[in-house]
Point group: C2
Chain length 214, copies 2
Amino acid sequence: MRLAELSERSGVSTATIKYYLREGLLAPGQRVSATTADYDDGHVRRLRLVRALIQVGGIPVAKAREVLAHVDDESLGRTIRIGAALWALPQGPEPDGGDPAVIAARREVDRLLERLGWSTAREVGELSPVHRSLVSAVSTLIGLGYPWDAELMAPYAELMHQAAVRDLDFMETYPSEEEKVETAVAAVVLVQPVLKALHQLAQEEESARRYGLE
Amino acid sequence: MRLAELSERSGVSTATIKYYLREGLLAPGQRVSATTADYDDGHVRRLRLVRALIQVGGIPVAKAREVLAHVDDESLGRTIRIGAALWALPQGPEPDGGDPAVIAARREVDRLLERLGWSTAREVGELSPVHRSLVSAVSTLIGLGYPWDAELMAPYAELMHQAAVRDLDFMETYPSEEEKVETAVAAVVLVQPVLKALHQLAQEEESARRYGLE
């Protein structure tokens, strides 16, 4: 297909597509003449992921390029390929190692992972920026005096594990390896706002059930 | 207690406390002389919530003032008081009513709420900014071609409802009505980053279990 059709099918303007091409977020089309190139379904899919990262995720272009480099790295196994792309996403603030709340949070996260039997997360530990984000988020609760420990977190972690199982089940319905990896990355960026809204809506609902609306 | 002790107990600098007092985010202390005032445990708690909203939630001062006005409104029942404070939090983008993806998303959200029996959420509908955020987030997935419908969302919504039940159980461990409302609001702001990190960590773990690390 030509640029105009790619724009129509992806819902991204031709000017924006040209910008993404210049920035290396989208592979060049197959050149058919000095002024025209041919694009395929892979380009439509890739534009979808780029839009998810930049427009929904608010991820800077340079960061998106880094995420996509991992998505495209066929030398990696699926877990590492998805993991590397996810690790390149913006994370929360780095925990401050000397803060007593961070030390307590790290201990509770360690206890949580042991309790849950999340052996990969335990082995990888704070090499993973996601693990560091978790320590940081828990340290904020502890620092503010909330009693967040491994026991309190465990049921939330089990719920999020069930959500992750559903994410990967959904990912596996896509045929090619590249689509699977793209879907896994898009899911993290796009499903988070849905979960956040569902969580708040569920709180409103549960509050109304318990305490009425008066 | 005097300002210095309030600062020490809350971990907020005296300069920042004075700023919050000027901005009306913190009630004035009991004046004991021309230059000194006396503060109590309620001030320590309130500073905790203000820090959660502004430093963790990244909420602008004017918006935080609006949230706190609802928290302090004793004329409201608990559900409305929590709800009003939550509604004042920043939400996702407004859905564009004419967009076919938004129309489809609204239909699927309606079907979801009916299926779940969330009657308050159905009645309040898009009067709730949280409901509008949900429609907006789902419309993004649909607009990008992902088959997100009521059936796919239902298990995620059930999981988030279980999380909300835990949030309110935790809230109920606090003694006073004011503390309950403060805790409910703080929970939404502070627990979200924990859930987000747990969700991503669970994806890494589940991916390693399914596909190995090679």
